[in-house]
Symmetry: C3
Subunit: 476 residues, 3 copies
């Protein structure tokens, strides 16, 4: 978390203007600042690199987009992570890696042909379905590796990705929801069920529904394999069962966003536990089939589309458990048609949890256009909260001032009233005494009275004016 959280402080300090460098800072601090700056270049979404790329040759740009697309499967917009992920794929299987690359490439090209949003293409948002389509079509093909004909439906299906993405986007945008990997799910299931196991050209692996009680003996449980299932679960996001590949994927996540990485591991662990709770065959758990959907769901809810608070963290874990349950359900449903669960469980559970509306402001869904990566999302959320608080404070201040004003006005009125009454009392007293003095002085008295009466209001006015003149400074 420190890795990308600290650069943010660095950035904030830049925003605040010239940071007054404390004179006594040591070399160590200097080195640290240097290191953080270096880290900021290849962590997060590598914005600086992305800006630099914009001026490069189109083929180089395309490579950047493809790499970002490969990483976007895990919501990471980072070409370096994409490169590491491809390395992991090559470690797993050359042929799969090739199919994944072809898928990403053609999905991106198709998006360019269909003139989709350039920013979204550059962020790899049209590539991630392509890589999954390519990979999983290779994984589930019954024809074995290096069956070159497979590239044909691979290219067709990955070119359909932007069309399906755009169509689903038109629907989901009404609720400000992303399309997640729904286009991949739709297209791979479409290909698999269209050809099926009994096909002469593109035969699929045979998947059949469970028809007898699995033999689960708790004594036979292999704890090492169980722990290994956590990285394998992360690897299964790309259909890979090699734990090293899974480890490489975890590392690629850590580079870009440690918060994403933590939630990925957490999700995979939750999936494993759920598998044990629902009495799944151990083989499935070891193979990571219970983990990959939870990985994605936990990342999506835990900081990616919601701003990360403790409440959201708990929500993400709940979502991972729900996703595991749903995963088992969908796997059983789809097996009736000879289909794998793909990432349907993740999509459906994450969409459900994103549609949730609550009364608390600790669960804040980011506007889709503002989603980047958990750390940056958090900063956005904090900024927003700060702004809101300031506005609220100002409002309260104003209210308080207005209250004071009204109180003061009342005080002034009361003072006026008092003065008037006092004056009237004085007047009456005077009149009474005058009446006893006799009628000789009457004319004189009357003159005086008139004088006083004429004076009275003026005096009052003066007093009032004085009051008015004294106050303003306070009132403003």
């Amino acid at each position: 978390m420190a890795l990308t959280d600290l650069p943010s402080k660095h950035e904030n300090s830049q925003e605040d203007g010239k940071e007054p460098v404390p004179p006594g800072h040591t070399n160590q601090q200097r080195a640290r600042a240097c290191f953080l700056k270096g880290v900021s270049y290849f962590s997060g979404d590598m914005e600086v690199f992305g800006k630099w790329m914009e001026k490069q040759f189109i083929l180089l740009q395309l490579l950047d987009w493809v790499l970002r697309g490969a990483a976007q499967v895990m919501f990471v917009n980072n070409p370096l992570s994409g490169l590491i992920i491809f390395a992991g794929l090559i470690l797993q299987n050359y042929w799969w890696a090739l199919n994944g690359f072809v898928g990403t490439l053609f999905a991106t090209i198709s998006a360019l042909i269909l003139q989709q949003n350039r920013g979204a293409i550059a962020a790899g948002l049209y590539g991630y379905n392509g890589i999954l389509v390519g990979l999983l079509m290779a994984v589930f093909s019954n024809a074995g590796d290096w069956y070159w004909w497979l590239l044909l439906p691979n290219i067709f299906m990955s070119m359909m990705c932007p069309i399906v993405s755009s169509a689903l986007g038109s629907i989901n945008s009404r609720w400000d929801l992303p399309v997640f990997t729904l286009p991949f799910n739709i297209l791979v299931c479409l290909h698999m069920v269209a050809t099926g196991h009994y096909n002469n050209h593109f035969s699929q692996v045979l998947i059949q529904p469970r028809s007898e009680l699995p033999n689960i003996t708790w004594a036979e449980i292999d704890v090492a394999k169980l722990f290994m299932s956590v990285p394998v679960g992360v690897g299964q996001v790309y259909g890979c069962d090699n734990p090293w590949t899974g480890g490489i994927f975890i590392f690629s996540l850590f580079i870009s966003s440690p918060l994403t990485c933590i939630h990925a591991v957490l999700g995979s662990a939750v999936g494993m536990v759920s598998g044990l709770a629902l009495a799944a065959p151990f083989g499935d758990i070891y193979f990571g089939l219970w983990g990959y959907n939870c990985v994605l769901a936990c990342i999506a809810i835990g900081g990616m589309f919601y701003a990360l608070t403790w409440q959201v963290h708990l929500l993400a874990i709940t979502c991972a458990f729900f996703c595991a349950y749903l995963g088992s359900a969908i796997a059983n449903l789809m097996s009736t048609f000879g289909l794998p669960a793909c990432t349907w469980p993740f999509c459906l559970s994450a969409l459900t949890f994103l549609l949730l509306t609550t009364g608390t402001n600790r669960i804040f869904k980011l506007p889709l256009a503002k989603v980047t990566y958990p750390e940056k999302n958090l900063r956005f959320f904090w900024k927003l909260k700060k702004q809101e608080k300031m506005e609220e404070d100002e409002k309260k201040k104003k209210e308080r001032e207005e209250q004071r004003k009204t109180i003061e006005d009342e005080v002034i009125l009361n003072e006026k009233e008092k003065l008037r009454r006092e004056y009237e009392r004085v007047e009456e007293g005077r009149r009474a005494s005058l009446a006893s003095e006799g009628k000789n002085n009457k004319t004189h008295v009357e003159d005086q009275q008139i004088e006083i009466e004429q004076q009275g209001p003026e005096e009052e006015e003066i007093r009032c004016n004085n009051l008015h003149e004294d106050r303003p400074a306070e009132n403003v």
Copy 2:
């Protein structure tokens, strides 16, 4: 119908101010008024009780919400009905009743934790999915009664209810539609298909698709059982096959809203008839499987979400038939996955009929926020109609007045025009004669002319005033 319809008159009379009590009214009438007032305390949605509850201890409130939640399955917002329903459940099976209670309780608690709308929680709108989830998970469990582990998924699934409800609500609210029992359907199917029949922890009842012609001999039909299937159908809404339980449920509906009760029975009968028409095995019909969806659909359309008119009543019966058809279809579909139909048929058919738009104003869909219970909905509808009529009448009155005014204005103008022309004619004639008389009289004539001209308008005005006084009676 009389029970709650009459209190409404009572209420109306209160609105009109002090009702002049006829001097000669007998004791009978007094007793009746007293009775009606008493009825109004525990029929409908028990508003007075609900208001009183707001000031009570939270646990007591929670109990109120749980009872209302239990009754909300049938759209009844009444804790007394809820209590009776729980009694019916206990009559059926203790374990099921316990599971239902746990489900309602935890669904409501989960809604409180997630800070959902307090009014909706208090109306039991977050509990009814919970009771169904709890009940049906117990009903379809293969482990038999008192398998305590079942409470774990029960609690988890019922706590998911508010999340799924909120998510579906976000979607359905765009069309001002309720979520009905969709969260229950989703969650119970999810649990059942996730574990399935072949599971070591939570095994489900085995459900298989029909694979041979059912043996239906019309001679074997048991008319008594057929008639009994009507209350059993109502009972099956809560998964109960005991006709007495069904009868208790019907009674609980009658307490709150007789119109709801009538439509429930009607729906169940329609379902039974549909079952016979579509050649369903008699066993299924006797068991109420053809009834419960129609019960709910008929209630929902017949007065609950539409204001009850004769057209709406027919629509409700059509919907019940459609629902029965759909029920058979969905039951067959779901049996492929080893799932029961749950209340999917009701949800889908009712949503379809609520999405219907027609040109007639006799089919009036209430705004979702105004839905209470059929009798109150009707009053709302009538009030609205009255208001509309009054507004229309006023509008017409204004239009008529305006028309009269314009006609009058025209008449006045015409009169003026006539007078002017007459005057001009007279004038011309005079001038002609004057011209022949010579120039000596000229000054005199001009004086006269001015005199006439000054007189003219005055005369006209008088005439017009006369017109104004004469006309109105004719024009109105």
Copy 3:
């Protein structure tokens, strides 16, 4: 294409006012104009006939609506096409044709009862689902022809069509999408799965999932049958496998809209090719099962809901390929439930492609209210484009003029400035000389000065006018 494209010219000429008939035009031209006018009466949507119909007896109107409804399956709003289609159906099978007619009739009547939009009813938009429901229920019935009881569910289901249409319309209208044949798909699948193969009253044809590798020997391919599969594919839109019936349908399309006809044939061909590519059993391809969805999808995208450009034409072909793929997938899925694919693949693929949003203005989706038939849609699109262009031109013109103006103003200001400076220089020089000359000449000088000052502006104006006359050519 010539048939309806030319009448459009004719129409345009009418819009332009009286066309000055060239004096030397031959009889041939006159005959041609006459022919085109005749064609315009029964091609397109037969607007003139429709207007004339409005004044006829209601039963005659109903017949018109039923015929239009029959043709609307292929998006054709033309009673003549409908009549020809019914002829084709009768050629195929009397019983099916009767069921289709009953379906259309009752769907239309139901829409009238439910007071749906009269314009939509008159365009046959409530009938096309009815004809398909009627036809396909007869086609898939296992009871054979002339099983009269079938008319009961037929009537019920076709009367449900407007309800389902209206409900789906409420949802789809949010994205300005049509409901296509979704109501038919829903209702026929509902009926088929509700009764199923094992039913005593309404047994359905047995459909089972493929469970072994089909035996495909490329040597056995029958090229004649393969080519025949193109018209058969068009026929299968109405569930007919007779190639002559398919041919008749193609002819009925040609009458109304040649563009529609071309895309129908193209779609059927694409479907056939896709079938070969995905290793489908030849029998299915010959039987037109790969064609009918592509026919509809290709028509819908190719000019019906998008304005036809080359880009849209390519999109339509892509959509047809996607639809064929999807068709195979859905057929396999549905066979698990004993259901045929109906036209689900068409609906889903066409909706996906209509939801597509692109940055190019060459793919223009028509507002749903403006959709008529491809040729008229094109004219609407061209008109819109022309208007846009004109507006843009005007805007540009204005901008250019404003630019010119500002430039001129600057020029004038500069000239004025120059003159003033020059004058000042002259003045100063003169003053200097005058100061030395003495005070005698002073009065004379002042007069001159005033003279010059008065002259100045005039001269400037003339210069400016010259500028105005010189510049325009440069600025444009």
